[in-house]
Symmetry: C2
Subunit: 155 residues, 2 copies
């Protein structure tokens, strides 16, 4: 058993990665939930929509951009639609697709939530590094996979 009795040096960064992610997202998620009633993924969706042309995206693209499955997006948007932050929009040229469109309330909500959320991210993540360290980190992390959903997404 000595073979696994002590975590190899190599694994340390992996473990730190896992644990930190768990701790940080739990905290950020709780914050967002408490103060704005949003999930981390809710927030991400609003954010992506706000960056998109005309504030709308195809559901499938939305799914890919926040790394959720198609069904995940359906349910997530369900909640956001009920809350009035996004609305459905059909596509005239292809009846299969439907867009999710950010509403004014959604944009409003996003900008409110952004304040808290960005502060949280800063506290728990960004604020712990200098500018150059952040750049290093970004470079290192950018080598990691970012797909994994269906689609083969030859991104």
């Amino acid at each position: 058993m000595t073979q696994i009795s002590s975590p190899p040096q190599r694994l340390e960064s992996w473990i730190a990665y896992l644990r930190s992610h768990s701790a940080i997202t739990r905290e950020l998620s709780a914050q967002l939930q408490r103060e704005h009633g949003l999930t981390l993924n809710d927030y991400e969706v609003l954010l992506h929509l706000s960056h998109a042309e005309a504030g709308m995206m195809r559901r499938v693209d939305l799914a890919e951009s926040i790394l959720l499955t198609a069904s995940g997006i359906t349910r997530l948007l369900e909640g956001l639609e009920r809350a009035g932050f996004v609305c459905k929009q059909t596509c005239s040229s292809d009846a299969r697709v439907s867009y999710a469109k950010l509403t004014d309330e959604g944009a409003q909500k996003l900008s409110e939530a952004s304040v808290t959320h960005l502060r949280g991210i800063d506290e728990l993540f960004l604020g712990r590094y200098s500018g150059s360290e952040l750049a290093t980190l970004a470079e290192l992390l950018s080598r990691l996979p970012v797909t994994g959903i269906s689609s083969s997404a030859c991104s």
Copy 2:
């Protein structure tokens, strides 16, 4: 809206962090599930137990070490007990605590799963960096929070 219309440079590492984690854990989890019927957390539990004195730990300590709530651990261990990989052990000096103890089958399972899993981690994470990069990464990640569960966390 221009205020959030383009993700600030600062946020890039945060986004990479989120996305990579999502992609990697989904893949590893699927791998582990497919080939061994284990969750990522199942695996972590077995691993922690294998490192522990006498192969056993208090449930509450186990919870903290894999960043799960008390109830999460109860349910997770439920599954592992049913599968015969861990067993319950009472404490003679304090009737409140019960230990989770790694069984021989559990140790066996762990060592089987380790092969696949370590390979997966290597492919998706470790293998993308040189030794010194790994050290840098480990150092950077070690500055992030690692608690957030109950305990004090009166946040």
